[in-house]
Amino acid sequence: MQAPVVTETCQTNEEGEQLVLRLRAPVERPRVTWGAGVIDNEHMGRLKSNCCCIYTPPRVWDDPSTWEPEEHETEHCRGHTLPEKKQKPQGGHGSDKDEDKGNCGCDHC
């Protein structure tokens, strides 16, 4: 369906020439979109592999909250994030197996 065309007549002082404006609907442009078979995996609970890409806000000299950035330090890795933060087991160190639970899967380990 085509948009209605609006015609406007405007008269100028010089030479008495008439100007005519014609408006048209914008041309549809190609757009990128997801294919039908694509699975959205954003909230699937996968581990992230952003070992070196954690954003650290810039340090401000008079803002103490920027002096000790959250380090995302896990048992085996600095700078890695886990799917969820886990409570540390009570009573210090458990067995080797307990100690290694919840470790991340990045290449650094």
Binding site: W61, H76, D100, C104, C106
Partner: protein, 335 residues
């Protein structure tokens, strides 16, 4: 023959596969480097007692152990592991260089027997207090960058200290350096300093860095009679003053401050040896498109401006540099 426990696979769901392997080395080696081997534990150094240089960078060590028998060791590198405590180093009496950067150390301790230690690196740990160095008077180089240190103390007894790095800490006041005339380099960027002070007795200092602090006024530098390089980048300085306090410098860095008066720049004429100047990202830089030409006109002896040769024409991608130009860099070296 060394025994190594390493992590072979870690899927992140608690399923970790380790294995213990035998690592074949000649028993008479003097150097060993096992960088990035996923080592969680390594032992049986009794088989290689002659090692003098040992590097285990980028591994998964949680504890300093099993090195006690390496009494010939002079260099030990444990950078980028998961060590939480400095311990079991007492027998390494010949140690000269120790690097435990990028670990999780909270306290400087266990170094009292290392009387020959000259260089200590503790970058990116969680240290709060400078302590535990009472007997380490042979120390020449101390690197404490990126920790949580709040106070400069317990350093003045280190009579051989030449280079001190305390960048990215939480220091608010320069103190505790009295009498350290032998100090050559002091580095304090990324702290919470507002006043330049406590430097009066550092007559041997050649290079000082006070970048990324909250300094408003240039002062307190008159004791630095040998100063060659002054770094005040990224502060809140509005006025160039007290220039006579650092008359002898070759290099001045004052980028990203609040300088807005060209009349102030004329004061830099007093610096007869000035050859390297960094002054971009100040108000007078961004408000004047003839910035480089004006600096060149006011300070004809400056050779390097904002990291580029002064004679370079803007926009031309290649311009040859004469051979004698490189003398600029020779004069900057802190010896």
């Amino acid at each position: 023959m060394l025994q190594i426990e390493k992590i072979v696979s870690n899927k992140g769901n608690g399923d970790i596969i380790k294995e213990i392997i035998s690592h074949n080395v000649d028993e008479d080696i003097t150097e060993l480097s096992l960088i990035r081997h996923r080592i969680q534990k390594i032992w049986q150094f009794e088989n290689t007692p002659g090692i003098r240089d040992l590097s285990l960078r980028w591994n998964l060590l949680k504890k300093i152990d099993h090195f006690q028998c390496l009494t010939s060791l002079t260099r030990l590198n444990l950078n980028d592991n998961q060590i939480e405590k400095l311990e079991n180093l007492e027998t390494l009496v010949n140690l000269v260089f120790l690097d435990v950067s990028y670990n999780r150390i909270t306290k400087i301790e266990g170094l009292s027997e290392l009387i020959n230690l000259e260089e200590l690196h503790l970058v990116h740990n969680k240290i709060i207090t400078i302590e535990g160095l009472e007997t380490n008077t042979a120390m020449k180089y101390l690197e404490f960058g990126d920790n949580r240190i709040q106070k400069m103390e317990n350093l003045s007894h280190l009579v051989n200290l030449e280079r001190l790095f305390l960048g990215a800490n939480q220091i608010r006041k320069i103190e505790g350096l009295d009498g350290m005339a032998q100090l050559k380099e002091l580095s304090l960027p990324g702290n919470a300093l507002q006043i330049i002070e406590g430097l009066d007795t550092l007559s041997g200092l050649k290079s000082i860095s006070l970048a990324q602090n909250g300094i408003r006024k240039i002062d307190g530098l008159s004791g630095l009679t040998n100063l060659k390089s002054l770094d005040l980048n990224d502060n809140i300085i509005e006025k160039l003053e007290n220039v006579e306090q650092f008359k002898g410098i070759s290099s001045l860095m004052i980028r990203k401050n609040k300088l807005n008066c060209w009349q102030d720049v004329r004061q830099l004429k007093k610096l007869e040896n000035l050859t390297v100047l960094t002054m971009e990202m100040n108000p007078l830089y961004s408000s004047d498109y003839t910035y480089r030409n004006r600096v060149k006109e006011i300070l004809p002896d400056v050779k390097l401006l904002d990291g580029f040769p002064i004679f370079w024409v803007q926009g031309d991608p290649y311009q040859p540099i004469p051979e004698e130009f490189y003398e600029v860099f020779d004069n900057l070296h802190v010896k």
